[in-house]
């Protein structure tokens, strides 16, 4: 099993090359341009590979379940919020997030 979470040729191909025969490549990335599947990475089509893609399940039931997981301390998303900005500073926040400076992962934006 390999999870691709960026949407680049490199990450897709690395995932494909990590698979055992019969393995699954699960891709979350959003791609642009051309995505190629080299025949050797693809075992020429005889590797029984599965490639699945996912966008982002939405709706209140999905959100309820995710919130339950946080409440039950199964995982904690808080460490990912590394920076905080007012909505008034949104252009500045985009600049920081886009440049990946200062160890930024996700920015909190508060109106």
């Amino acid at each position: 099993m390999a999870i691709e979470a960026l949407g680049l040729q490199e990450t897709f191909e690395n995932c494909l090359r990590s698979l055992r025969p019969g393995g699954t490549l699960s891709s979350l990335g959003v791609y642009s341009g051309k995505l190629q599947v080299p025949y050797d990475a693809f075992a020429a089509g005889i590797g029984d590979y599965k490639i699945v893609t996912t966008l982002c399940p939405g709706g209140k039931e999905r959100m309820r379940r995710l919130m339950l997981m946080v409440q039950a301390k199964r995982f904690d998303p808080m460490p990912l919020l590394t920076h905080s900005f007012k909505l008034d500073q949104i252009v500045e926040a985009y600049d920081l997030f886009g440049s990946r400076r200062d160890g930024v992962l996700k920015v909190a934006i508060r109106p």
Binding site: M1, E4, T11, N14, S26, V52, T54, M63, I90
Partner: protein, 254 residues
């Protein structure tokens, strides 16, 4: 007319904070006052002109807020309720939604790729003071009192997407996993950057900090049999390199 501040896309590398009319809730809709939101890697694609949206659109799709106005037909909620709304807003009625494909909503018609993604894509989004929520009955998720806005804001998109990657892969106990990305989301103590090295999948108990991991079902690195190890084994690295199996040291958005 009441107005609000909102982040408006005008063209590649041109976003501005502007005053816009505040939305009003129609039938089946709700308006929430945003209390917390964030910026997604996808928003950067929009900003850079790599993903096309219409100029004039309010961007952002990760809303946490308080119900300000409820349209006709929305029941079980009251003004003032704290709510989380997913990045993708399924209608709950179409063939995709009722087939359990919660991201491919066709809005009452059929199935449409990316059809479920509306905030900051086809309708005004969350980087604003107020947000119109379509199909509110299917999309307003009340936040338990015990949870803060900060604890839930990342569930709208990246947590739902991240877990979905593991769910879609149909991971089972004892499977070996690799995660290729700019950041490590699924392992415990999320937030640590791993540059796409090998990792345990989310059902593993620990990640190996070097990533040279075969899940052995007890949350230990198969190579060192430690819960946390660095696996600084040159030979192993060389072996991997010979296999052409370089780590995906990528730089990208997350």
């Amino acid at each position: 007319m009441q107005t609000m501040k909102a982040t408006v896309f005008h063209g590649p590398n041109d976003i501005r904070l502007e005053e816009l009319p505040r939305p009003r809730a129609g039938t089946g809709e709700a308006v929430i006052r945003i209390t917390l939101t964030t910026i997604c890697g996808t928003d950067l694609h929009i900003l850079r002109g790599e993903y096309p949206v219409k100029p004039g659109l309010v961007i952002g799709h990760e809303p946490v807020g308080v119900i300000e106005e409820l349209g006709e037909g929305v029941t079980g909620y009251k003004v003032g309720d704290r709510v989380l709304v997913g990045a993708i807003t399924p209608c709950g009625q179409c063939r995709a939604c009722l087939s359990g494909q919660w991201a491919q909503c066709g809005h009452g018609e059929g199935i449409e790729a990316v059809g479920g993604w509306r905030f900051g894509n086809t309708i005004n989004g969350a980087q604003a003071e107020y947000l119109l929520v379509p199909n509110a009955q299917a999309n307003l998720a009340k936040i338990p009192d015990q949870l803060t806005d900060e604890q839930v804001v990342l569930l709208a998109d990246i947590a739902s997407t991240g877990f979905s990657g593991a769910e879609s892969a149909n991971i089972r106990i004892g499977d070996t996993g690799r995660f290729c990305s700019g950041t490590d989301w699924l392992v415990r103590n999320g937030g640590r950057k791993v540059d796409g090295r090998f990792l345990h999948h989310r059902r593993g108990k620990r990640s190996c900090s070097d990533g040279n991991v075969e899940a052995n079902g007890r949350g230990r690195c198969a190579r060192s049999n430690r819960r946390r190890c660095r696996c600084q084994n040159k030979e192993a690295h060389q072996r991997r390199r010979r296999r052409g199996d370089r780590s995906a040291r990528t730089s990208g958005d997350f």
